[in-house]
């Protein structure tokens, strides 16, 4: 980890001097995670591309803005990606507030045990993708980082600048919302079929 950090710093120094290879190495190292994070957060490939582009443009424009004393380069890049994605989502107004979400939960069907089993693979993925996108942002971040990016609680907490316990509770809450959402959707589909 420490080796990676010092390697990142060396690459960043080289990048600041105009070394294109250093830039490419850093890009290859982090672009996938940043792109996927923005894609899963927004559900929009264009936002994913835009975020990736903006994060690396900011890095090449001001490489000295990164302070190693404040955390890892990955954390710094994710921080930028979060802000850019948030802004993009605000612009497209595709976010749902926490209050609205809680309100919807009250109408959710409680019995969710067999719902996932009933859904076919394609249906399940599509419904799940939609459900993730409608999660409130803090919950969505937890799901994206821990479930989709497979980061540990500690790694996610570092990126989100909160305690690992907070990540765990957000993830727990997010999963519960997801299950309820899928149940509601299934109930709607069954209602439509009859």
């Amino acid at each position: 980890m420490a080796e990676r950090l010092s390697d990142d710093q060396e690459l960043l120094r080289q990048l600041a001097k105009g070394n294109e290879d250093a830039f490419r190495t850093l890009y290859e190292r982090y672009q996938g995670r940043i792109y996927r994070f923005a894609l899963h957060m927004s559900g929009n490939p264009a936002t994913g591309e835009e975020t990736t582009q903006e994060v690396f443009l900011a890095l090449m424009g001001k490489p000295k803005a990164y302070d190693p004393a404040k955390g890892s380069l990955a954390g710094y890049l994710f921080g930028m990606a979060r802000n850019i994605t948030r802004r993009a989502m605000r612009e497209t107004a595709d976010d749902i507030s926490l209050d609205e979400e809680t309100e919807r939960d009250e109408f959710a069907v409680a019995g969710d045990l067999d719902v996932l089993e009933e859904l076919t693979n394609g249906e399940l993925l599509s419904a799940l993708r939609q459900a993730v996108l409608t999660l409130p942002e803090p919950y969505r971040e937890a799901v994206v980082l821990c479930d989709l990016e497979e980061l540990s609680y500690q790694e996610a907490a570092d990126l989100l600048e909160c305690a690992p316990g907070t990540v765990a509770s957000r993830l727990n809450r997010a999963r519960s919302i997801l299950k309820k959402k899928l149940s509601v959707q299934r109930a709607r589909e069954q209602k439509c079929a009859t």
């Binding site: 105009g18 294109e20 830039f23 490419r24 890009y27 290859e28 672009q31 996938g32 940043i34 792109y35 996927r36 894609l39 899963h40 490939p45 994913g48 591309e49 990736t52 582009q53 690396f56 443009l57 090449m60 424009g61 969710d112 045990l113 719902v115 996932l116 089993e117 693979n121 399940l124 993925l125 799940l128 993708r129 993730v132 799901v143 821990c146 479930d147 989709l148 990016e149 497979e150 540990s152 765990a168 993830l171 999963r175 997801l178 299950k179």
Partner: protein
């Protein structure tokens, strides 16, 4: 990632499996075009940066050279007018002895003995014979063409009054001297001849 027991908590296990499939089904990398575009931006950015730096360095070098040249030109001593305006010195032969203390009074007569004259010659020769000594009234801004060299024979006391470096014991002796005078008669420099 937390461990999920699929037997005790089947819906959690199903959700985790679904999220896992969702992660695997999403794009892993940003499109190749994004990377290429960023590499081009990187090259352009650093080309522009290098050009800007070169312009700044060049401007600084020019400014510095100009400043040094200006300082040097200000520090160079102005050429002394007499050395430029040296003309053949006409010998003025005074008709009557004069007690005038002004270098403008041309009249002067020899009243010293040959022995004392030899002595005076020796003293004068000890001084710098060929160099004009600027007097207190010397003005470096004086245009050389307006100056004239006049050869006079005056007493040492008279010359001392003008500011010429004549030893005190020669006060009563007559000394032949070239005097640089301006068109208004102001003496600017003196050269002791004999």
């Amino acid at each position: 990632m937390r461990d999920i027991d699929p037997i005790r908590n089947p819906s959690e296990a199903l959700l985790s499996a679904a999220l896992n499939r969702l992660a695997k089904g999403s794009a892993r990398q940003a499109p190749t075009g994004v990377g290429e575009q960023l590499a081009q931006q990187f090259r352009r950015h650093h080309r522009r940066r290098r050009r800007t730096r070169a312009v700044v360095v060049f401007s600084l070098a020019v400014g510095l050279t100009f400043a040094v040249a200006l300082l040097l030109s200000l520090q160079q001593p102005a050429p002394t007018a007499p050395s430029v305006a040296l003309q053949p010195a006409p010998v003025v032969t005074p008709e009557q002895p004069s007690q005038s203390t002004s270098p403008r009074s041309v009249a002067a007569q020899e009243r010293t003995s040959p022995a004392s004259r030899r002595n005076a010659k020796a003293v004068v020769s000890n001084t710098n014979e060929n160099a004009f000594m600027p007097l207190g009234t010397y003005d470096p801004a004086m245009v050389p063409g307006e100056l004239q060299v006049v050869r006079l024979e005056l007493t040492g006391a008279d010359l001392r009054l003008v500011g010429a470096p004549v030893a005190e014991d020669l006060a009563d002796r007559r000394v032949l001297a070239d005097i640089v005078v301006a068109s208004d008669g102001t003496p600017y420099a003196v050269r002791l001849v004999r």
